[in-house]
């Protein structure tokens, strides 16, 4: 097991560094001393050009084609992180690392074919242990997957040389020599072949049968997501704007799935006709990747967003992609205490925050402080959710009310009957808010319990500071 992991790590490293992947084990090296066929498996995707009509159309379509290829490459990154472009019409996917995840080569191929059938029915797939051979097989239409070096040599040899895409001069040389199939090239003396067709051709043949390392540039995943949608008509209704935004969120979810990531800040831009766009940022408590959840939160924001004019287009940008947290469910947790409930709670917080604002939601905490108005603390629910109260439990021998007024309120002496016991609080000389008060419990006119104080700094003035609710 550990050896397998180590081998995979080495292979990944080799691919990342774009150095020739070293042979894995000594026996393999002994058996095939010149082979660099390792435990990689390449899938080539070839988009035949015969769908294009004529040369002009071909020239026009080049630009569109390259973006089409990139789009297809991005799409195929859901099957493997290692995808490289072979312009103008090919893609290479390293799929050995994905076989376990997708349940074997057959299933992976079936899935790919099914998915491709919708948008690229003309695409041809081929599988080989080395990239050059996979491409060649795809171009030649040999779609049966090849996984070992011996079969590869036999099958590749039977393919016509024209599929190698040689330039006109070399193709002519080969034609004059009467060579049709690649196998015939392989049988010729290497030195002569190099002299007549150049060393490049020899290298190509070597790469084809795995005799030479063939590093491929990997298509990097974009760091930033940006997508735009044009609305069919100018729209002001929040519900219909949400429909458009949901489409963008689905694209975002695809992007996030590829990167196994989540986002916590979504920048929205609502474009107007002949006016600067309305921009707002959707901040989330914890990174999310579920488009439905984000859409629900967005609905609250959209309803509150003042729109100066009708919207003609929506742009979504996400700058950072945060790796997803793997969550472990607690098998023994009682329902409603943790686990699933914790998830739901974050969602509830998100919804409350989205609608009422981040300032409106919070928890309370105690502080070790004698002044009553400073002995508590408001804590906003920021990232990570509410925090536990870590201040030491103060041993109040004295009574404190359940309700505290935000500000002490002047009170007429006739409005209450105080009890004789007093509690003097003199504190706060160090931070410019000193207090000097005699607190008492009092009964109001209707029997309610009040917490009042006599301000010793202003004798004769009584204030109401709380209720024993």
């Amino acid at each position: 097991m550990s050896r397998r992991i180590a081998a995979r790590a080495r292979r990944q490293l080799a691919l990342c560094l774009e150095v020739p992947p070293a042979t894995r084990q000594a026996p393999a090296r002994a058996m095939a001393p010149r082979s660099v066929i390792t435990d990689t498996l390449w899938l080539a995707l070839h988009l035949p050009e015969d769908t294009l009509q004529g040369r002009d159309a071909k020239r026009r379509a080049v630009a569109a084609d390259s973006t089409r290829l990139v789009r297809l490459a991005r799409w195929s990154q859901r099957f493997t992180p290692i995808v490289s472009l072979v312009p103008p019409d090919g893609l290479l996917l390293e799929i050995r690392g994905s076989l376990t995840l997708f349940g074997g080569l057959d299933r992976l191929l079936a899935r790919l074919r099914r998915a491709l059938a919708r948008h690229h029915p003309e695409a041809r797939l081929a599988v080989a242990p080395v990239p050059e051979a996979a491409l060649l097989l795809a171009r030649a239409g040999r779609t049966e997957p090849i996984v070992d070096g011996a079969t590869l040599r036999a099958v590749a040899g039977s393919i016509a040389v024209r599929h190698l895409r040689l330039d006109a001069a070399r193709a002519e040389v080969l034609q004059r020599l009467g060579i049709r199939a690649i196998a015939e090239c392989l049988r010729l003396p290497r030195a002569d072949l190099a002299r007549r067709l150049g060393p490049d051709f020899l290298h190509l043949l070597d790469r084809l049968i795995g005799g030479r390392p063939d590093p491929r540039a990997r298509l990097a995943l974009p760091d930033q997501f940006e997508a735009e949608i044009e609305l069919p008509w100018a729209e002001r209704d929040a519900g219909r704007l949400l429909l458009g935004a949901t489409r963008l969120l689905e694209l975002l979810a695809e992007y996030l799935d590829r990167r196994r990531g989540a986002s916590e800040r979504l920048h929205w831009r609502l474009r107007h006709e002949g006016r600067p766009a309305t921009e707002f940022t959707q901040g989330l408590l914890v990174p999310q990747h579920d488009p439905r959840l984000i859409a629900r939160l967005l609905a609250e924001l959209l309803q509150r967003q003042p729109l100066p004019a009708a919207v003609i287009g929506i742009v979504l940008r996400v700058d950072r992609c945060i790796p997803r947290q793997v969550r472990h469910a607690d098998a023994f947790a009682a329902p409603g205490t943790s686990g699933q409930s914790g998830e739901d709670f974050t969602e509830l917080l998100e919804r409350l925050r989205a609608r009422l604002g981040a300032d409106a939601i919070g928890t309370l905490a105690c502080r070790a402080e004698h002044r009553p108005e400073h002995a508590w603390q408001w804590r906003r629910c920021d990232a990570g959710g509410p925090t536990a109260d870590e201040s030491p439990a103060s041993q109040h021998s004295r009574h404190r009310p359940l309700w505290l007024l935000p500000e002490p309120r002047p009170l007429s002496r006739a409005a209450f009957t105080p009890r004789p016991e007093r509690e003097r609080i003199e504190s706060g000389w160090w931070d410019e808010q000193p207090i000097s008060r005699d607190y008492r419990i009092a009964a109001g006119r209707h029997g309610e319990r009040l917490w009042v104080f006599h301000d010793l700094q202003r004798p004769g003035h009584w204030y109401l500071h709380g209720y024993f609710g």
Binding site: G336, W403, P406, L411, H446, G469
Partner: protein, 273 residues
């Protein structure tokens, strides 16, 4: 003529016949006050239903009354969500009363600029809280609430299985309500005077007086050894009980305002704290 006449005792065997006064099979939450539990059907606060506490003045035990039950819920890991409390719930006292502050979520009143939509937002937040499955109790302070709104909250409480506790002014007693339990709170002679205005599956009209708790009155000496209970049916002719119970009903001081009006503001100011 059918010979066998069903007596009242055999009637409940028929499906679809429900007798008033019977306790519906409902989940309840012990209030922590034996006297109150004895009066409430099922022996406690109705869970998955709406409870209303009506009081005209703050400081009449409106928060102390549910506090023991709330403390137990929070220590069991359930969330307490308080929507739009009128003043600052004082954290040191709450903790001293056994509330786990880490499980208490406060939704403050919106800022002055958004006062117009404040009741709507508060109702929305309350409904969201009630429908959240991890919520043990949701407390809301409402000035006005229509029957439709109350019905909505009652349904949300049923759906979420949480305890909805609604604070309303005393004059709301005249309004009908779908709440399972409605209590009117006043300050009594020796504690809180609780009048049960409505009690689904129980007897309404009961009046009881509970001694104040230490954290709510600040004086342990006021604790009474026995609570005095007078049932509404006996209101008119409640005789002095031989055990020396205080007959609260006859001794109830009717709420009266001074000639100069209340010096303590009757309604708390709606300010952001």
């Amino acid at each position: 003529m059918i010979s066998n006449v069903h007596s009242a005792a055999t009637l409940p065997e028929f499906p679809g016949i429900w007798r008033g006064g019977e306790t519906p099979a409902a989940v309840t939450l012990a209030s922590g006050f034996a006297e109150l539990d004895a009066v409430l059907p099922g022996g406690g606060w109705p869970v998955g239903a709406l409870t209303e506490i009506l009081s005209e003045h703050p400081g009449t035990g409106e928060l102390s009354l549910p506090l023991p039950a709330l403390g137990r819920l929070s220590r069991a890991g359930r969330w307490l969500i308080w929507v739009a409390p009128p003043c600052i719930p004082y954290a040191p006292t709450l903790r001293a009363a056994g509330l786990d502050l880490a499980r208490l979520l406060i939704v403050r009143r919106p800022e002055a600029a958004a006062q117009a939509s404040a009741p709507k937002e508060a109702l929305w937040a309350l409904e969201q809280a009630l429908r959240f499955p991890g919520c043990g109790a949701a407390l809301g302070w409402l000035e006005r609430a229509s029957m439709r709104v109350l019905r909505r909250l009652q349904l949300a409480a049923e759906a979420g299985g949480s305890w909805a506790l609604l604070y309303r002014p005393a004059h709301a007693a005249e309004q009908p309500s779908p709440a399972a339990l409605r209590l009117l709170l006043r300050a009594g002679e020796h504690g809180w005077r609780i009048e049960i205005l409505k009690c689904r599956g129980g007897r309404h009209g009961a009046v009881l007086e509970l001694p104040r708790l230490a954290h709510s009155c600040g004086d342990r000496t006021e604790r009474l050894s026995t609570a005095s209970v007078a049932v509404g049916a006996q209101r008119r002719c409640a005789p002095a009980t031989p055990t020396g119970r205080l007959d609260v009903v006859s001794a109830t001081p009717s709420p009266s305002f001074g000639p100069h009006g209340p010096a303590v503001p009757r309604r708390l100011r709606d300010e952001r704290w």
